[in-house]
């Protein structure tokens, strides 16, 4: 898939249209943003409204390590895509793997945080309004991270099998848009849940 469709007509200049993949991914990102917006609105609406049970101030700790990992993975995925565009498949594979590792670290961190909250601090999704909105919002984001990591893992397998070529850089770039989106959502979730909400 080329980055744009070009048809030369008889007397006119190039007929250039945006790439389908990019437009498609942007619309998907728009849809997902709308879904996340609703969950964020619900979270903010219910701040301070829990009648009983743990509050954000009581139990939440800043997930610094996970955040650094996730945000750096945006950089590493960008480096990977750039390498692939320059036909450096080996370098691509390296940065791609680091992205996978960073993303997985983030997920593991979330899992550990949840384990601590559930077993040590008694906060579950049904405890109170905070529990419901917290697990839903962070969980929705984690779900999107998981889907992204599955795609990255699959691509990793193709890379290791030697199937990835420079012509696939466009697709990798379109996917990286999704990954950047996931990171931007985390910035918002982090700000709303761990900073403003606490």
């Amino acid at each position: 898939m080329s980055s744009h469709v070009v048809t030369r007509t008889s007397s006119e200049a190039e007929w250039v249209l945006p790439s389908r993949g990019r437009v498609g991914m942007f619309t998907l990102i728009a849809a997902e943003s709308a879904i996340f917006t609703i969950f964020v609105v619900a979270y903010i609406f219910y701040l301070g409204k829990s009648a009983a049970g743990p509050t954000p101030q009581d139990v939440l700790e800043l997930p610094i390590v996970g955040t650094i990992c996730l945000l750096s993975s945006s950089l590493t995925i960008h480096l990977a895509v750039r390498a692939l565009r320059n036909a450096k498949v080996g370098v691509f594979g390296l940065w791609w793997f680091i992205t996978l590792a960073l993303g997985t670290t983030f997920l593991v961190g979330t899992g550990l945080e949840w384990g601590h909250l559930i077993f040590n601090r008694g906060l579950t999704i049904s405890t109170n309004l905070f529990g419901t909105t917290y697990y839903s919002l962070v969980g929705l984001h984690a779900f999107h991270v998981t889907v992204g990591l599955l795609a990255i893992a699959l691509t990793m397998i193709f890379t290791l099998l030697g199937k990835l070529k420079a012509e696939h850089s466009e697709r990798a770039e379109v996917f990286s848009l999704y990954w950047h989106f996931v990171d931007v959502v985390w910035v918002i979730v982090f700000t709303v849940v761990y900073i403003i909400g606490r």
Partner: protein, 557 residues
């Protein structure tokens, strides 16, 4: 560009076994076939939704009737609304878009053909899941476990406490599944219109149908998502012990309303904008003039698209928002009337000075103008918040929105059927039968929905399975129900016409209407690949330029 399309030789249709032909339809990724599948699916659901409506109207023909129990009646209005919006209107409109957009912009298919197929089947399966609910629970005579919480499923009626059993779950899951299909189709519409236009077709030169479906696609992406989010929250409440809408734990019932209507209001514009698109293609051709004010038509629709996201709480005027809240939503709901009204004037301007040929499509579009005008005016009445405190949630509202959905949207859909049936099937329909369809349906529509405004004015609320005698409602309910039978007759004539014409209609030729957009340059039906060579266009009406080389559009646009 050649005005004849080059048909490559294919094996004759009748030679291949029926199993193989059906299999082709199931696995197809061809936008034309998927379009037809969407439309046929919607037609079948239209009949089912109509049966549900008929059952309700028979129950309400006299007070204290015993045609169905309250439980069954409540399932009927829930299923009728859900079916008509999600399984009839959206599929049919998506179907026409899927069929027509590539043909109108000179492309060979949609941007993502496999996503196209996936989206259709998701919608289809969502509908099947919804209807599977009828055979759950108590079985058919109690109408099974079909949802009975109303098509907008207000909390906390949908919570585990008040909605025991799975009726709400069927509603939620079926719509989640079909919502994924809707978003997929919308992604396809946007990507196709932005990325697949033929050379020369700038955004300012593409047919209004392409523009309006682009806007609709963008709206679907932003509107269906809040519904998806709200439904996920509802599932979390019902299955994971969440409290999003659990009023007994401090949750808010009004929050569900906000989330639902942030979807729900743009949704009705999502339905009406493709209807506008049909009118914008049909009226010019049958008036023999270009659309009046193309740039403003586009701008007005873009405006409608944006403003429609700011009016949602006019569905909530009675929930006790502050006076400032009510005032704000009154303003936005009135403001949206301006671009909408402008469009009516532009269609009138198109007809003005033309030479109108009242074929079936044009009859339906003329009736659309009349009925959409009335619907818009009753909408303004409802937009004035205090008036809505009386009229809201009554039969006046039901009359208003059916005026839009049936009187405007369904009428233009019928118009679109007759207009593009020759292109899709290669055959002409029977014009006399089509006129019978029109008049029967027109009379039935007005009997039912004109007089339905009155019980609302006399205090009859929505969603009641029976009513008290002596409140002055009896005569109006009787007339409303009688109208239903005229509509049924009209639809029967329509179906007979379609089937009859499919088998015995005259060959239509490429361009039976002497029209001006690219789809009429292909054969009827178009070949699999749509266009043998990619067309190059210079104006909004490429076929006008070809037919009038001495007087082409691009000199005047």
């Amino acid at each position: 560009m050649s005005s004849e399309s080059i048909a490559l030789g294919t094996v004759s249709e009748s030679a291949r076994p029926i199993g193989e032909r059906l299999h082709e339809w199931v696995v197809t990724v061809d936008h034309k076939r998927l379009g037809i599948l969407y439309i046929l699916y919607g037609l079948v659901m239209l009949v089912i939704g109509g049966i549900e409506a008929t059952i309700m109207r028979i129950q309400l023909i006299v007070p204290h009737n015993h045609f169905v129990s309250p439980q069954v009646f409540n399932r009927m209005f829930t299923m009728h609304g859900t079916t008509m919006i999600f399984l009839v209107a959206m599929p049919i409109l998506f179907g026409f878009g899927t069929y027509l957009i590539p043909l109108m912009i000179g492309a060979r298919d949609m941007a993502f053909p496999r996503l196209n197929a996936f989206s259709f089947w998701m919608t289809a399966f969502g509908g099947l899941l919804l209807y599977f609910s009828f055979i759950g629970g108590n079985g058919l005579y109690g109408a099974g476990n079909a949802p009975d919480v109303g098509w907008f499923a207000y909390a906390p009626l949908t919570s585990r406490a008040f909605s025991v059993g799975h009726s709400t779950d069927f509603w939620t899951l079926a719509l989640l599944v079909s919502g994924i299909g809707s978003i997929g189709t919308a992604v396809n519409f946007v990507a196709t219109v932005l990325c697949m236009r033929c050379p020369g077709m700038t955004l300012g030169k593409m047919p209004l149908l392409a523009w309006l479906n682009l806007i609709m696609g963008g709206m679907v992406i932003l509107a269906i998502s809040p519904l998806t989010a709200a439904q996920i929250m509802l599932l979390i409440d019902r299955y994971l012990g969440g409290h999003f809408f659990d009023t007994q734990a401090g949750g808010s019932a009004v929050l569900w309303m906000h989330f639902f209507w942030i979807f729900g209001h743009p949704e009705v514009y999502i339905l009406v904008i493709p209807a506008f698109a049909f009118a914008s293609e049909i009226i010019p051709v049958f008036s023999r003039k270009p659309i009046f004010g193309y740039p403003v038509m586009v701008a007005a629709t873009v405006c409608i698209g944006f403003v429609s996201f700011s009016v949602w709480a006019h569905h909530m005027f009675t929930v006790g928002m502050s006076s400032y809240g009510n005032t704000f939503f009154t303003v936005t709901s009135m403001v949206i009337a301006v671009p909408t009204g402008i469009k009516i004037f532009n269609w009138l301007g198109t007809m003005w000075g033309g030479k109108i040929d009242f074929k079936a499509s044009m009859l339906f579009c003329a009736a659309f103008l009349f009925q959409f005008l009335i619907a818009g005016l009753t909408g303004i009445m409802l937009a004035t918040s205090p008036f809505d405190w009386q009229l809201g949630n009554s039969y006046f509202v039901i009359a208003h929105f059916h005026y839009v959905i049936v009187g405007a949207i369904l009428f233009t859909i019928f118009g679109a059927f007759y207009y593009w049936f020759p292109k899709m099937s290669g055959r002409m329909y029977n014009e006399a039968l089509a006129k019978w369809h029109f008049w029967l349906f027109f009379i039935g529509f007005h009997l039912t929905f004109d007089f339905m405004h009155i019980p609302g004015i006399l205090g009859m609320p929505r969603r009641i399975y029976t009513y008290e005698p002596g409140r002055g409602w009896e005569i109006w309910n009787l007339i409303v129900t009688i109208g239903v039978f005229f509509q049924i007759a009209g639809v029967l004539v329509f179906v007979v016409n379609l089937l009859w014409s499919l088998w015995t209609g005259e060959p239509a030729g490429n361009d039976p209407w002497d029209a001006w957009t690219l789809e009429w340059s292909t054969s009827s039906p178009p070949p699999d690949y749509d266009f043998a060579t990619t067309p190059v266009v210079k104006s909004r009406r490429p076929l006008w330029d070809l037919k009038h080389p001495e007087d082409p559009d691009w000199k005047y646009e």
